[in-house]
Amino acid sequence: MSTVDLSAGPVRGRFHWAVADCLNVVRRDLTHYRRRPSYIAWQLGFPIISVLLYGYVFGGAMKPPGGEGGGSYLDFLMPGMFVMTMAFGFMNTATTVVSDASKGVIDRFRSMPMAPSAVVAGRGVTDLVVACAELTILVATALVMGWRSNGGFGATVGAFGLLLLLRFSLIWVGVWLGLLLPSPEAAGSLFAVAFPFTMISSIFVPPATMPGWLGTIAAWNPISSTGTAARDLFGYPMPGGTGWIEQHAGLMALLWPLAITAVFLPLAVRRFQNLSR
């Protein structure tokens, strides 16, 4: 019936296949970007246009918070844009997962003798790789516009590390939502939630300038901690934050993503297992 030998190959352990299957899922997901480079363009479109708009259109009129002594408005803006791109990433995760689920691709994977962990883990690895590519393109844009990190090499690398850590933690939110939502259209509406969520943060303006209660919410927004910590590490600290949460931005930029991962990774895995309910 087949001229190809279809027998199982040499016996290998579960761990071997878990890694091999995960890499094959990653390969498939990355091939999507190779065949549809426009996906990256779409995902990056909003941050890049925001960078250009804020940088060039408003940039001339805007003063960086704290005014003199600090950097330019661009120095203030860029770390916020990096954080925003990482934060919005969970929608890309959710969209790809919900599209796989609704087209039956995830069911096909589940009906195959592959490692069940590969579907979720592969998504996570792919999204981190894509996030690195997005950060690279965004940083290149920023460099062309004249942005520079004022921090040392180690601090700069640390800042990007924190940005990727935030993205990593939000992958699991995206997978969980992707398995929960009924259709790709529903994933599109996530933007309505994500946009205010990123606005009520320290990304565009210091929370200290907001009404008291709103400022508190903004300061405790997890992405504010990443933003504040990144600004510190890039050498243009954001002025005005005197609360505990702002004083401990570096610590919280580690703790928030770990907490999000601790909650949403099990939720995502449970959701995946419960597909067989």
């Binding site: 087949s2 279809l6 094959n24 087209k103 069911d107 589940r110 009906s111 003798p113 597909l275």
Partner: protein
């Protein structure tokens, strides 16, 4: 084709069943999707699972393909218990779900190679197997085109090819032709026939009696999560009464003449049934075409004007009417009838 009394092979009594399910139960909230469902599929045959929308066909397939856990009952596939060793089952089955589950961004070839690697064939064998399957399912010309641009029939064939990568013992096909045009349907039927010729056991769900009739050697009828009949296509059709000749008179005054003409060709001991309001006369016939021509000629000779005359194949609705006393329900569907099968109950297909 096997019948209950004359199995398709002399040793068939000893042939193990490829799929056995006993008392399957599955609830979704208050809804009993499977409510004590039994099934036995003989190895090397096509078995049809026939039922209207919402009967539990997809749930049954998903349970057998280890995608859904059972609430009760037990099932073995290729001799392996689905609850005890789902991984072992997955190595021996192929599944083509209700929606063609192919990656729409990858090409057809990339799809098959990707699934091949995930079936642990390794890169080289995955490539060879993909080439082989593309050939077999007549997709060579489109191999490197994006699968999302394929026609419905091509996508289904790619889906079938993907479910065949490991040449599984048992193949589950969930409504493989729903939503396809007649041409795509024919393509899929041909593929299924070729698979079975190669020795695969196929469990195929369908809402179409004629599809089950064409492909399956045995049919289980499912309604509200239960098997309500299990028979050969011929046995099932004899339950429903086979094909019917149907004549609609233009003038109510001609009904007597029409009834007489139809009675002459109707099966013995089956009097024509008459529907006065619709001026309709119908009766079961065996030699369909001869009956049609004879009645048409007779009525023409008598100068009777006929508004409509045609052969009506038993529909899923008829099966249900006989088996349960009620129709297949509000969501009943029937494929567009083939040429020569006039009238009948036709409804627009609504995807579940």
């Amino acid at each position: 084709m096997s019948t209950p009394t004359t199995p398709h092979a002399p040793h068939a009594q000893h042939t193990p069943y490829s799929v056995r399910a006993e008392g399957l139960r599955k609830r979704y909230g208050d809804k009993r999707a499977l409510d004590g469902f039994d099934l036995a599929v003989r190895a090397g045959t096509v078995h049809g699972l026939l039922g209207p929308n919402g009967a539990g066909k997809t749930t049954a397939v998903r349970v057998l393909a280890t995608l859904v856990r059972l609430d009760g009952g037990s099932a073995t596939v290729a001799g392996i218990d689905v609850a005890a060793d789902p991984r072992g089952v997955r190595r021996r089955i192929g599944l083509a779900g209700q929606y063609a589950a192919v990656d729409e961004i990858l090409s057809g070839r990339q799809n098959l190679e990707m699934f091949g690697r995930l079936f642990h064939l390794g890169g080289r064998r995955a490539r060879l197997r993909a080439a082989e399957l593309l050939e077999r399912f007549d997709l060579v010309a489109a191999a490197d085109l994006t699968a999302g641009d394929y026609s419905g029939g091509m996508r289904r064939r790619l889906d079938l090819a993907a479910s065949m990568i490991l040449a599984p013992d048992v193949l589950f096909l969930d409504e493989p032709t729903t939503g396809l045009d007649p041409r795509g349907r024919g393509e899929v039927w041909d593929s299924v026939r070729a698979l079975v010729a190669g020795g695969t056991t196929v469990l195929l769900t369908t809402q179409y009696l004629d599809e089950a009739d064409k492909l399956a050697s045995r049919i289980t009828v499912i309604d509200q999560g239960r098997a309500i009949a299990d028979d050969t296509p011929d046995g099932l059709k004899s339950t429903v009464g086979g094909d019917r000749l149907e004549v609609v008179a233009a003038d109510p005054a001609d009904l007597a003449a029409v009834t007489e003409a139809v009675a002459r060709v109707a099966d013995a001991d089956a009097a024509p049934e008459r529907d006065m309001a619709e001026r309709r006369v119908h009766a079961p016939v065996t030699d369909r075409v001869a009956a049609l021509t004879e009645v048409a000629r007779a009525l023409q000779d008598q100068g009777v004007t006929v508004e409509d005359i045609g052969l009506r194949r038993p529909s899923l609705d008829d099966v249900f009417l006989r088996l349960t006393g009620h129709g297949a329900g509000p969501s009943r569907t029937e494929p567009a009838s083939e040429p020569g099968t006039g009238g009948g109950t036709e409804a627009v297909e609504v995807a579940a």
